[in-house]
């Protein structure tokens, strides 16, 4: 790893938002370092864009191949792009700059930056159903990643289950390569007319209509679809063997070698949370999002969030939000004035508005049902520490008021994933038991390091007063 000691802007994440932000900063002459965990650029939406073996362009579609234009721009830019780099801490160094802790190929380093743009994107919402930890159960996004990056698909019979637009995209993409999903179990609750109607007008004039209808048509033509699924269970000893589901009072069991789960995506807030940025509960998206302004600026000066990490809006909006975050960082560094910033923001602002239109309809229609967000019995909630729903509920009944107290009782959320796969479930379960809104319960207070690093790596860092704070949560200002 060849990291500079300091730069003007650090961008975390090389998806559409991070790429656009880094390109905007570098174009204006700011020394820009783009850190990304993956081996190649593109994030998850453009995963494997430089190396994908899926050469038939119609399989992954034009939306995917758009990523190539961003990566080509990166290759021709002055951005210092560092793949395989995990950011484990962002703290305030002496003198007001930020100090970014990076782990790369088993070695840790510290990098100073005037501005930090977090473009850490989204992750798939937890889907805590019985058996979701069995080998053979992966997320629908994971299946798509395997196809994009390695040309791998699960062997039949394959069951795809859940709700949301990605479900139908995955079904269509699998059909295009001759690996059609054997059964799509749609958990979208019926009778949503009242909730979705107020959002229909904006949706009908949005770019999502034509895309959505085409995908639905394609998925329907290739895949057996069961609607109104109200319960779902992965069965098997040691690995997945079958899927049991219920529609109304009728329960059915079907054999399965792979079960792909998906019920929407939520912002990955681990870094913004640990930095101490203010977050709020988003009742429409059923998740916590950082509080940001139109530029993506958070409550901590110098920390900007771009893309889905600031609230789910998709890849096209993320690119626009990346540009806006880059412009904000340039203005904060004094490289451009406010007038120039505003003038250069016009295109990106219009792009964001275009792709935000109709989003509320999609959110309302595909809001996951309570039964798939609020598990019961011995269904695992915290995959790392193997804590069940019953344990969380019983502890809440004892009077445990929130996720942070729950850590002391159960170690819930304290494993290596640091709550990424259980945080929202825990918040919502405690909220229901206490009879209060999730906003009142809050989320895990996350601390650095947000990614596991070895003591050896920590010990090898230069021991200045600033660097020792790299593992201490930054105080709110």
């Amino acid at each position: 790893m060849t990291l500079p000691q300091r730069c003007d802007v650090v961008v975390v994440g090389a998806g559409p938002a991070g790429l656009a932000a880094a390109l905007e900063c570098a174009r204006a002459g700011a020394a820009t370092v783009l850190l990304d965990e993956q081996a190649g650029p593109g994030g998850q939406i453009y995963r494997g864009i430089t190396v994908t073996p899926m050469r038939k362009r119609e399989v992954l579609g034009a939306d995917y191949w758009h990523g190539a234009t961003l990566v080509t721009a990166l290759q021709g830019s002055a951005v210092d792009y560092v793949p395989g780099a995990s950011v484990f801490a962002v703290t305030r160094a002496d003198g007001g700059a930020f100090e970014v802790g990076v782990s790369c190929d088993g070695a840790a380093a510290l990098l100073q930056a005037g501005q930090v743009i977090l473009a850490t994107g989204a992750l798939e919402r937890p889907f805590p159903v019985p058996g979701w930890t069995l080998p053979g159960v992966i997320t629908a996004g994971a299946a798509q990643i395997l196809m994009k990056s390695a040309g791998l698909v699960p062997e039949a019979p394959v069951v795809l289950a859940g709700t949301g637009p990605l479900l139908y995209l995955v079904a269509a993409q699998f059909a295009r390569v001759g690996a059609a999903i054997d059964c799509l179990l749609d958990t979208t609750p019926s009778g949503r007319l009242g909730e979705v109607l107020p959002h229909a007008a904006a949706f009908l004039t949005s770019p999502y209509v034509a895309k959505g209808l085409a995908l639905l048509r394609e998925a329907r033509a290739s895949t057996r679809i069961v609607r109104g699924v109200e319960r779902l269970e992965a069965l098997g000893t040691g690995r997945l063997a079958a899927v049991r589901y219920a529609v109304g009072s009728r329960t059915t069991e079907i054999p399965a070698r792979a079960l792909l789960l998906h019920q929407g995506v939520v912002p990955n807030i681990n870094l913004s949370n640990a930095i101490g940025c203010e977050h709020r509960w988003d009742d429409r998206g059923l998740c916590f999002t950082p509080v940001v302004d139109a530029w993506g600026a958070t409550s901590v000066a110098g920390i900007t969030v771009a893309g889905d990490g600031a609230g789910i809006a998709g890849a096209q909006a993320a690119e626009g939000r990346g540009t806006l975050a880059g412009l904000h960082a340039l203005a904060a560094l004094g490289r451009i004035g406010a007038a120039e910033r505003d003038a250069r923001a016009a295109g990106a602002t219009a792009q964001v508005a275009r792709w935000l239109r109709g989003r509320s309809f999609v959110d309302a229609l595909y809001r996951p049902a309570d039964a798939f967000r609020l598990p019961a019995g011995d269904t695992i909630v915290c995959r790392c520490e193997e804590i069940t729903a019953q344990q969380v509920i019983a502890t809440a009944k004892l009077g445990c008021p929130g996720p942070n107290q729950l850590k002391s009782f159960l170690r819930c959320g304290m494993g290596p994933c640091q709550g990424r796969l259980c945080g929202l479930t825990v918040t919502e379960l405690i909220a229901r038991e206490r009879g209060v809104p999730p906003a009142e319960v809050g989320y895990y207070r996350l601390r650095f390091p947000v990614k596991p690093i070895t003591l050896g790596e920590l010990a090898s860092l230069p021991q200045t007063s600033a660097s020792t704070q790299a593992v201490v949560r930054m105080k709110a200002h």
């Binding site: 399989v59 992750l123 062997e155 790392c384």
Partner: protein, 106 residues
Amino acid sequence: MYKRLPDVAGTARAVDITIDGQVFAAREGDTVAAALLAAGYDACRTTPVTDAPRGPYCLMGVCFDCLAVIDGRPNQQTCLIPVRAGMRIERQQGAAAFGPGAAGAP
């Protein structure tokens, strides 16, 4: 179990890796997690708490279920690390062991 799509043929070289001591030809550019799945291993570890089998779940670096021992280093996120020729991968049993006496140590 996973299979390669016909499109993939000829898009990358093969590199030899070992999984639990057995040699496999992996596709260069694949992550270790993808190589494990392609080789027929959908579980790469057992959990420290109940010894339950687990395999890759998210494939994007957030779930930490795809941990395995790579070249003697335990707790590696196999979905983030590309395969390299000669790489030694071992499935991880229970809690990770560290130090010179640990299983899989060089």
